[in-house]
């Protein structure tokens, strides 16, 4: 698999942006200034970025409750997202959606989703539209291991197979749905196998290694763009924070998070692979870190200072026109 240095830098920047966005949110939420439920994506960055680096703006994705990573990877404005999570008037959804409902249709981001299993059926629709556009575009549904127990996900997979829709079902198996282990909740523990049983091709890949994700997704995307039908990918990945902010995480093993941070950090793995294969210099990556850090700082700063929505705005944006 070939990937240019520029492309690698971009991918790294995306991963790092997600990571810093999430780490920073984790700190900011402690201050009590951010309202609502926030689910952090840190640890899974290589999946979102490894998938989305194969997509362009005509391709669409639908995300989950744990959506920040997918949004950033698909090109949503980082500052707009931060403003949204802070509930500000200039947020990407004007403060109406919050963390769980960030969307940007123009970027092909069809929405985070507060309903587990909400996204896959929507993606089949986007894929059916893609088929009609006839230009090879496709649609990706991100789902967790828990979401693969929701009936809507299965219906979506079958409908995609039946209609030969260019849809990709990207299952991020981070081994937990909330506080429950995948070993308990997923009958077969083989998510890709389930997808195969619906008659589609499925791949399994380490979701903590950007290079492997990117390479596999190359095959998957080629398959789907070629009109060979929908596909599924199961990513073995890790969640670094709790299910939501505030989760005490007593269900984790002793030292589990420290171990994951040490052995399964996709940023570290990227850097090591890049260094070993001399793909991008440490200096360049450090420079990106700095840029990203500034961007996040600035986003938080501006978000803190930004104006909240006006009370009367509660009434707008329900319909385009009504009566």
């Amino acid at each position: 698999m070939q990937i240019s240095e520029d492309a690698l830098k971009k991918a790294y920047r995306q991963m790092k942006t997600i990571r810093m966005f999430e780490e920073r949110l984790h700190d900011e939420i402690m201050t009590g200034e951010i309202a609502g439920f926030t689910h952090l994506y840190a640890g899974q960055e290589a999946v979102a970025v490894g998938v989305c680096e194969h997509l362009d703006f005509n391709d669409t994705i639908a995300s989950t409750h744990r959506g920040h990573g997918h949004c950033i990877a698909k090109g949503c404005d980082v500052k707009g997202m931060m403003l949204e999570i802070y509930g500000r008037a200039d947020g990407i959804c004007k403060g109406k959606g919050g963390s769980m409902h960030i969307a940007d249709i123009e970027k092909g981001m069809l929405g985070a989703n507060g309903i587990v299993g909400g996204g896959p059926p929507i993606v089949v629709g986007a894929a059916l539209a893609a088929k009609l556009y006839g230009d090879g575009r496709l649609a990706v549904a991100f789902s967790g291991d828990g979401a693969c127990n929701q009936g809507t996900t299965f219906e979506a997979m079958n409908l995609a197979v039946v209609t030969n829709a260019p849809a990709i079902f990207a299952f991020e198996n981070n081994h937990y749905s909330e506080h429950t282990g995948v070993a308990y909740a997923v009958g077969s523990e083989d998510i890709a196998g389930r997808a195969e049983s619906f008659g589609m091709k499925a791949w399994r890949v380490d979701g903590c290694d950007f290079f492997k994700v990117y390479e596999t997704m190359g095959e998957v995307v080629d398959h789907v763009r070629a009109g060979k039908g929908p596909a599924a990918v199961e990513f073995d990945t890790e969640r670094f924070f709790g299910h939501f902010e505030g989760d005490p995480q007593n269900y984790r093993g002793e030292g589990e998070i420290a171990r994951l941070r040490k052995e399964r950090d996709c940023i570290t793995i990227f850097r090591e692979h890049a260094a070993k294969n001399k793909l991008v210099s440490k200096k360049d990556l450090d420079a990106i870190d700095k840029e990203v850090s500034d961007l996040i700082d600035k986003s938080v700063e501006e978000s803190r200072a930004a104006a909240p929505p006006k009370a009367e705005d509660v009434l707008t944006d329900v319909y385009i026109d009504y009566i």
Partner: protein, 336 residues
């Protein structure tokens, strides 16, 4: 003008809109009928006769027969709508709302709001609803009250073939998600239907019958019953306005309030059970906004707080009828 059955008016409208706009896509269970069989596509063409011929004309990419997966159907309609298409999904029986409500309620209805007004999802969901065919508790319901309660949806209930055409055309061209409820007992109803372009704006009720004494408000099949009641009452010298809501969301408050200001008496007819439904909605609208005009307490003629029963005798007892409506009119006239 041609005389058409309501189901024919629906089919013709789908044809016309699909021809007019290549972005219109239809999907649903057995709407092609015969997929994967020896008889082949169009062997049946939809159990309601509202999609026959569409597949042959527009092909399988725009006329999508689906497995029995209502959540996926509605979700797909949402996704099509978000990405530039104009889906028209069919839910074979409105009762199947139970297995797809999330994609209506929490997804398509809320996209625009949750996403800060930056999204359009011009999806139409056609649902075949209502009692009268002895289809029992799970194939006879009228869930328009539930749907009307949901912000973000528009809800349409045509009562004549002409309205079916005019309102469905509007629905397909509308930029918001629209629920389009077709009463199965009205499918064979005949009426004159304007030819060519014909749209009816949402939120504008139709005066199905005019009178001075009592205002009757109804939608869908109930308009037929209310009109029948009004005709009978007219012979007895009692004049009724029958207001056909056409759309329950948006609601033509003005038409209702104007009429009640004139008559001072209200009877609301609703095919659903009585609690938290369209009947209570209209009654409370009128008592809030036309209180001073009222000469008697508003009357509701609804089905009872029970599931829909199977046997003919029971279903008849269940449904509102012209007789029950006339009785309510008499009650409101007799008040005090």
């Amino acid at each position: 003008m041609a005389e058409l059955m309501l189901r024919e008016a629906i089919l013709q409208t789908l044809f016309a809109e699909m021809e007019r706009d290549e972005n219109v896509v239809v999907l649903g269970e057995d709407i092609v009928g015969g997929m994967g069989t020896e008889g082949g596509p169009e062997a049946i063409g939809g159990i309601w006769g509202t999609s026959a011929g569409l597949y042959d004309k527009f092909g399988g990419d725009r006329v999508i027969d689906t497995p029995i997966s209502e959540s996926a159907i509605i979700g797909a309609a949402g996704g099509l709508g978000l990405t530039g298409k104009r889906p028209v999904a069919e839910i074979m029986f409105a009762d199947f709302l139970g297995v797809c409500m999330d994609q209506i309620w929490n997804q398509m209805a809320k996209f625009r709001y949750m996403f800060g007004g930056k999204t359009e999802c011009p999806a139409v969901v056609r649902m075949i609803y209502g009692a009268g065919l002895n289809a029992a508790a799970q194939h006879s319901q009228a869930p328009h009250g539930i749907l009307t309660s949901m912000p973000g949806l528009k809800v349409v209930m045509p009562s004549t073939p002409a309205d079916a055409k005019g309102l469905l055309t509007t629905a397909i061209r509308d930029q918001d998600p629209v629920i389009f409820l077709e009463h199965k007992a009205l499918y064979a109803e005949k009426g004159e239907v304007p030819e060519g372009e014909y749209t009816i704006p949402f939120g504008h009720a139709r005066l199905a019958h005019a009178g001075e004494d009592v205002t009757i408000v109804a939608a869908g099949l109930m308009v037929k019953f209310a009109t029948k009641a009004a005709q009978g009452l007219a012979e007895q010298g009692i004049g009724c306005d029958v207001i056909d809501l056409r759309t329950t969301s948006p609601l033509d408050e003005e038409a209702i309030l104007d009429s009640v200001e004139n008559t001072g008496r209200l009877v609301v007819v609703d095919e659903s059970p009585p609690r938290c439904g369209l009947a209570t909605d209209i009654v409370s609208l009128v008592t809030n906004k036309a209180y001073a005009s009222l000469k008697a307490p508003p009357e509701m003629v609804t089905s009872p707080h029970t599931p829909v029963p199977f046997a003919r005798e029971l279903e008849k007892a269940y449904l509102p009828s012209p007789g029950k409506i006339a009785d309510a009119v008499q009650r409101t006239l007799a008040w005090k």
